[in-house]
């Protein structure tokens, strides 16, 4: 008879080794160190083309947003991080996102919203470059790839602080 303590095999004989190709197709997340970034590269000007063709219809010609698609471009407030005080201050890539790699990661998986996951690596690097330049973060001649993208420092990164609350009477 088998009892719980006899269950030497923590798999319970369940599960199969993942199919390599299927896993690779899913495992495309990109972290701030650049892990997961694919081969390839893109420029700001190439990105302008991608943006105009595949993104502007929803996000506006200058990334200003068009409800329900959010604004992607904007560096106001020029100083500080005052979003808690102003409902109307839009959070954009330029004034809020702490990591540039996130733009790649997100666009690659979720955009365009109507045809998600269909951009090539080059297209994604390109449109990311375009958006970073529009937001005044990289130069117009910058090339984004697996080495340069993780090195981009985002203006708002320094404002992010991890939650350390544990409850209790004081409301923070």
């Amino acid at each position: 008879c088998s009892t719980p303590s006899d269950r030497a095999d923590p798999t319970y004989g369940l599960g199969k080794t993942p199919n390599v190709a299927q896993l690779a197709a899913m495992d495309r997340d990109v972290d701030p160190r650049g892990r997961g970034l694919p081969a390839g590269e893109g420029t700001v000007s190439q990105g302008a083309v991608v943006y105009a063709a595949q993104c502007a219809s929803c996000h506006g010609a200058r990334g200003e947003g068009r409800a329900p698609s959010p604004a992607l471009v904007g560096r106001t407030p020029a100083a500080g991080h005052v979003f808690a005080l102003d409902n109307k201050a839009p959070r954009t890539i330029g004034n809020y996102w702490p990591y540039a790699t996130t733009v790649f990661d997100y666009v690659q998986r979720a955009m365009p919203q109507s045809t998600p996951g269909t951009l090539t690596a080059a297209e994604t690097y390109s449109v990311v470059a375009y958006l970073l330049n529009e937001n005044g973060i990289i130069a117009p001649d910058a090339v984004m790839n697996a080495q340069t993208l993780p090195a981009v420092v985002m203006p708002a990164a320094r404002f992010f602080v991890r939650d350390n609350r544990t409850g209790g009477r004081l409301f923070r």
């Binding site: 369940l14 599960g15 329900p68 409850g167 009477r169």
Partner: protein
């Protein structure tokens, strides 16, 4: 078929909604039963709004009792619609910093030892609409419809992590969904090991597609967004991925010019669900003020109710007791004298935390906090019995 299913219930529907209604149902044989126990035509709660591909749809709390949220009325939050998933081809893969990556079918997930617990699920954005633009004609559905309570059944994530042999350096787990948003969130390993579940049942039966069918992640007490729906993979990592949902979104700007990141836990909160807009008190006298209270930090310890705008407070009873990490029903019998009144509820949890007033909330979190709208809510009772949202 399903569309035929609608036709099958039509005779019972018609019988229950006949006009005129039989003056004496004890004198006429009733209607035959159907393949589902449908609602009375006089009780037709609904989610609202409808047609959501990117946005949310809210639980009608003013129509509910007890502690459970019927599965059909569980709130929904979508970023690119509800995916059509065939359970026989669905799979969940665990990989990354593990000894042996594995892909499980749904049937296999159900063969593991299981856990069943009643937990709330709340979106961090809950209450934002009412905070930013309060209107008197907001119901509890509109104010706080992005929280629901469910008996979940599933396999502990810890069991799955043990199956694949998560390595010690693996301090984070990336959860990813199989819908068109392909949502990702980085979850601390400690939470995954403590009480996280991969759930496949909701109030006794299979998950609803709008809530993640056939399986989703459930992190008791933590923000809904992290409870990834249509879960397709869990990757063990040594650092957070810093996805869009945990950077651009679900971070909380503070008045001190920082943004609080990884605010995982849902803070203590309550809302009166009756009387609330659009209810009308029919007369003076005794009325039960009822609502729900909850906390992601354990158990609600007690709930206070005020009928004079917060000048005086009275402790409510808990008709269903208090269960950890679950909507807790509170009730306070109030003798209304027919004059205008302002009803508030204030929840406390076992850590000592207490729901802040609107002023305190605004002072600490700012006017535009973005998420975690937990301040005390109020409802105005007019002399004619009409009830409106007071902010």
């Amino acid at each position: 078929g399903l569309l035929a299913g609608a036709a099958i219930t039509a005779p019972l529907v018609r019988a229950l909604a006949q006009t005129p209604m039989p003056p004496d149902p004890t004198r006429v044989p009733g209607a035959p039963s159907d393949s589902l126990g449908i609602r009375s035509p006089f009780e037709q709660p609904r989610l609202t709004p409808v047609g959501v591909v990117q946005g949310s749809s809210w639980t009608p709390h003013q129509d509910l009792h007890g502690t459970l949220t019927p599965a059909e009325l569980h709130f929904q939050r979508h970023h690119n619609g509800i995916p059509a998933i065939d359970p026989s081809t669905y799979s969940l893969t665990l990989h990354g910093m593990v000894e042996r990556p594995l892909t499980f079918t749904l049937a296999e997930l159900k063969r593991f030892p299981s856990i069943t617990r009643t937990y709330f699920l709340e979106c961090s954005g809950n209450g934002g609409r009412a905070w930013n633009n309060p209107r008197p004609d907001m119901s509890p559905q509109v104010v706080d419809g992005l929280t629901s309570n469910t008996e979940w059944t599933g396999v502990p994530v810890s069991t799955l992590l043990r199956a694949v042999g998560a390595k010690p350096g693996g301090q984070w787990v990336l959860a990813e969904g199989g819908d068109a948003a392909v949502m990702t969130r980085s979850i601390p390993m400690d939470k995954m090991l403590r009480d996280a579940l991969v759930v496949y049942a909701q109030n006794g039966e299979a998950l609803r597609p709008g809530n993640g069918y056939p399986a989703r992640l459930l992190l008791p007490g933590w923000e809904g967004n992290m409870c990834v729906k249509w879960l397709r993979r869990l990757e063990v990592l040594d650092a957070p991925v810093m996805s869009r949902e945990e950077t651009s979104k679900y971070t909380d700007p503070l008045p001190d010019g920082t943004s609080r990141q990884f605010s995982f836990v849902m803070d203590v909160k309550s809302v009166i669900t009756a009387p609330a807009y659009p209810a009308v008190l029919p007369e003076k006298g005794w009325h039960a003020i009822r609502g729900i209270a909850w906390t992601g930090r354990g158990t609600v310890s007690h709930v206070d109710v005020s009928t004079d705008g917060g000048r005086t407070w009275h402790q409510a009873t808990l008709p269903a007791g208090a269960t950890p990490l679950s909507h807790t029903r509170f009730e306070y019998l109030w003798r209304w004298d027919g004059k205008p009144a302002r009803l508030l509820s204030r929840a406390h949890d076992v850590t000592g935390a207490v729901q802040p007033t609107a002023e305190e909330f605004r002072k600490v979190r700012g006017k535009a906090p973005g998420y975690h709208f937990t301040s005390i809510r109020s409802w105005d009772v007019a002399a004619d019995g009409t009830v409106t949202f007071g902010g």
